[in-house]
């Protein structure tokens, strides 16, 4: 079902997974080698596709869904109607998607939340097995931010020293979901440094950033694409990159290796899926459309604007399964260590 060519490419992309590009742009795009057009199997799709997005239109998922839908339409001329069903960290959208007919006309956008949800409760669908990943089109890492004007500490080392001196009274803004990528990474950090810091939970982005800007908290845990405006304006500055090497755009920010940590950080990824029992020829067409659309100029520009070009963001179906399976295993390990109830 999956062509040899894409298979070969996926091996390449897995190898490239953790390698970082030196500059901001890759020499070529991952699916440049794919054919520029593909016959519609049995006329499919005869009408507009639907895309269930389990998050609101304005957030990271809403934006990537919009950009990918636009790129697929540019490539194939098929319209995509997005259907936002936010809530329950993606659970609501997933449930609604699984209830739709498996005829290939409806696809799903989802993020790594689906993997961590399955890791915690195997009754929840496994995105690598209960769905077919069409493409993963965004992979990114997290950073720790402080106010650029901060003078109590100015870099990672002075920050850790200051936090330790506060005896648990220092604060950092983070998301409000236990067991999420953000909270687990934070757990790794506090365990590795031995510092005690009070996390303050914010479920929405804007108040979280406002809290750092307004001096309500001492630091912020976030991904660079989400706070790019604050970085460009010089309001926030990163003091630690949660990767083992330094991406080009943040060459002067210490990486985990620089800071002396050896844990494997969890990544944020966003991708597109279809029902596993959708007709195979339709799935093949969708895989072509979504993977090829990744290299449309509009989509590449979008990813660049979101700092999504700093590490390789592309995975085809097999690469996606590999990433998801590895991610689930890692989450499950951490949850067990934390003593959380894994079902």
């Amino acid at each position: 079902m999956i062509k040899t060519k894409t298979l070969l490419m996926s091996v390449g992309s897995v190898v490239a997974a953790m390698t970082l590009s030196a500059g901001t742009a890759f020499a070529g795009c991952a699916t440049d080698g794919m054919p520029g057009s593909m016959d519609r199997p049995g006329g499919f799709p005869e009408r507009a596709l639907g895309m269930v997005v389990p998050y609101g239109p304005a957030g990271g998922s809403g934006q990537v869904a919009q950009a990918m839908a636009q790129a697929v339409t540019e490539l194939t001329g098929v319209a995509i109607n997005r259907d936002h069903k936010p809530g329950g960290s993606g659970t609501v959208g997933m449930t609604a998607y699984l209830a739709t007919p498996a005829n290939g006309y409806t696809v799903l956008e989802h993020i790594d939340d689906a993997s961590s949800a399955h890791a915690l409760d195997s009754g929840r669908p496994n995105p690598a097995e209960d769905l077919i990943p069409l493409v993963i089109s965004q992979i990114t890492f997290s950073q720790i931010y402080i106010r650029a004007s901060e003078d109590r500490y100015t870099d990672w080392d002075s920050f850790v020293a200051w936090v330790k001196a506060q005896d648990g009274k220092a604060t950092i803004a983070n998301v409000s979901k236990e067991g999420s990528m953000e909270r687990i990474n934070m757990k790794y950090l506090t365990d590795s440094t031995g510092m005690k810091i009070q996390q303050i939970s914010f479920d929405k982005g804007a108040p979280r950033y406002g809290a750092l800007a307004g001096g309500q908290v001492d630091a912020l845990f976030e991904q660079p694409g989400d706070v790019r405006k604050f970085l460009d304006s010089g309001t926030f500055k990163p003091i630690l990159t949660l990767l083992h090497s330094r991406p080009g755009a943040f060459a002067d920010v210490p990486s985990l290796t620089d800071a002396g940590f050896d844990f494997e950080p969890l990544l944020r990824f966003r991708g597109f899926y279809v029902h596993k029992d959708a007709p195979a020829d339709r799935v093949e067409w969708l895989q072509w459309a979504f993977q090829k659309a990744f290299c449309e100029k509009s989509y590449q520009d979008f990813n660049e604007s979101k700092y999504m070009n700093l590490i390789e963001s592309f995975r085809d179906s097999d690469g996606a399964r590999e990433l998801i399976t590895a991610t689930i295993a890692q989450y499950r390990d951490v949850y067990k260590q934390l003593g959380m109830e894994v079902k």
């Binding site: 009408r47 507009a48 639907g50 209830a99 739709t100 007919p101 939970s201």
Partner: protein
């Protein structure tokens, strides 16, 4: 018994029972959160305690003063019409409440039909669809039987029925039936007026929302309703 009526006792029992039920249910999610001392249950349990306090306060107040309003509350004299309508209807005896309750439970039976059947039979996706396709007309028939004796109860229940069917059967198929049902319940008997109302409302809604604004209304998930919905959407977009 002071100035208490049976209704006041029911009211107090309702609030206390609600608070007790939700308190017991809160043990379902009684897990600690590493970074937050009060956990997930602290806030709701504090609120439930306040509910109980307010319900007892209200009960004691009614014991002393009956249905009077307290001073210092703004707009307290406001009867927005609901209380007056209730008095005029005379729908305040136990039998009416009971038959209304029976009617209101029907849509929820539909929503849970596949779980109920699922206790006895293994159901796949197809099986669930069949159960729903059978449950809908059966419960609708029961509704019609009960509705004969309880006009207002029937009015309260119909929209819930409509909402319960939306997920599976879709807006496009159910809305025209709903319009006919509501118009009939409101006392209109002339068929041509009912048909005209249904046609006008559906036409206006589909034109504005689907054709002009591309709002995706629920299409349903069960064939043939799903296919009919998509056929209509493709036609008018």
């Amino acid at each position: 018994m002071g100035k208490l009526r049976l209704g006041h006792i029911c009211e107090a029992v309702f609030w206390l029972a609600l608070a007790a039920f939700l308190y017991i249910e809160s043990f379902e999610f009684d897990r600690g959160i590493e970074i937050y001392k009060f956990g997930a249950t602290g806030w709701p349990r504090a609120l439930l305690l306040l509910v109980a306090v307010a319900a007892i306060g209200q009960f004691l107040f009614q014991f002393v003063a009956g249905d009077k309003a307290t001073s210092g509350t703004v707009g307290a004299a406001t009867d927005d019409g609901a209380e007056e309508a209730a008095r005029q209807s005379g729908h305040s005896h136990f039998r009416w409440y009971f038959s209304t309750f029976c009617l209101l439970i029907l849509p929820f039976l539909y929503m849970r039909a596949h779980d109920l059947v699922g206790m006895f039979l293994e159901l796949d996706k197809e099986g669930i669809h069949s159960v729903k396709l059978i449950a809908a007309p059966v419960l609708l028939f029961v509704y019609l039987l009960l509705a004969r004796g309880n006009h207002v109860g029937a009015i309260l229940t119909l929209p819930l029925f409509f909402a319960a069917l939306l997920e599976d059967l879709g807006f496009y198929s159910m809305a025209p039936l709903f319009i006919v049902g509501v118009t009939l319940l409101m006392g209109e008997r002339r068929p041509q007026w009912i048909a005209l109302t249904a046609a006008l409302i559906m036409g206006a809604l589909l034109f504005t929302f689907v054709s002009l604004l591309y709002v995706g209304l629920p299409t349903g998930n069960i064939s043939p309703f799903y296919d009919l919905s998509h056929w209509i959407v493709t036609m008018i977009q």
